[in-house]
Amino acid sequence: MWILFCLLTGCGAHRAKRDLIVLLPDPDGKVGVITVTTREGSQKLDKPGYATEIGNLDKVPMPPRPLNEKEITDVFGPALLAQPDPAGRFILFILHFEHDTTKLTHESKGLLPEILRTIKSRKSNEVYVVGHTDLVGTEAYNIELSSRRASHVRDLFISSGIKPNALFVSFYGKARPLVPTKDEVPEPLNRRVEVIVR
């Protein structure tokens, strides 16, 4: 019976057996990046609703293509419905700096009161302070600069009454630009300290 069914339908569903990965927007509307890699190569997904299919480990994932909402909910409806509520998980702030300094830009200085209010109102004892630079200069120099930037923000927080043991400082130099650029390109958006308040 099944063979007959197969003959009639060509077993299309069986032949089309492929894994499917779809990038979705974050709950706050931002869109991240995922890279899907098989033994033969990889595809980058960076647009919401775009999907790649994978036939098997020995094939490059297929080029990204958009799926509509119905196609997504038809397959992923129950999994998406089971997602826990993302509200209030953590809040990310980004502070920017003047070129080659630990001096906050004017706008970023203006952001400090809001960050402090957020830390205090959430009674957070997990605040991550993560330093970064743009891609101008050597790796070693930028590691040191990103460390100074993060420490500067940490000190500002402590002098505003945040407990030192609630602050987790790390720094990555030029390794993790927010805006990808070529080496030695000045980029104000990359000179930053990210503050994540849980």
């Binding site: 990965i21 899907v36 826990p84």
Partner: protein, 159 residues
């Protein structure tokens, strides 16, 4: 019963209790060895957690540990919140393993490795993807997915 016999009996009883105590203590230590990685927040239908070869029915509030295998039935779904706020949910007839989970900010140690074998899943990355993106991995039988702070869904055909 002569004195010698009762002494031997006493000795046997003490030994049994000692062994019992040690084995309980051992189990306690084993439980400590993997601290909770997350907690079940949502459930519908049938889902089980397989831990050290034993299947437990999943319930809201159940802790998820490193190395747990999570499986959903034909009408089942489950939503998990990990300690770093990663949100992971599964649709029906799905199977995945929490291969690694470490979230220790004081030690600067981070790792999340999810191995999906079958079914459908939705994943919203948490703090590990923000703080140590190179330490967040989602593996499938055909591919590995590098995650930079984002949400995605995956359907895996399995065997």
């Amino acid at each position: 019963m002569n004195q010698k016999g009762s002494k031997r009996l006493l000795f046997t009883i003490v030994t049994i209790f000692l062994l019992l105590y040690l084995s309980l203590e051992g189990a306690g230590l084993a439980a400590y060895a993997s601290s909770p990685a997350g907690i079940v927040k949502k459930m519908s239908g049938m889902a089980t957690i397989t831990r050290q070869g034993r299947a437990l029915p999943a319930t809201v509030g159940l802790e998820i540990l490193e190395n747990d295998t999570i499986r959903t039935g034909r009408d089942g779904s489950i939503g998990i919140v990990f300690n770093d706020e990663t949100l992971l949910s599964l649709g029906p007839e799905s199977l995945l393993v929490v291969d690694e989970f470490v979230f220790a900010p004081k030690q600067g140690k981070f790792s999340i490795v999810i191995r999906m074998l079958k079914g459908t899943a939705a994943y919203l990355s948490g703090l590990i993807s923000k703080l140590a993106p190179e330490s967040a991995h989602f593996k499938t039988p055909t591919a590995s997915i590098g995650i930079r702070g984002t949400k995605f869904v995956a359907k895996i055909e399995g065997e």
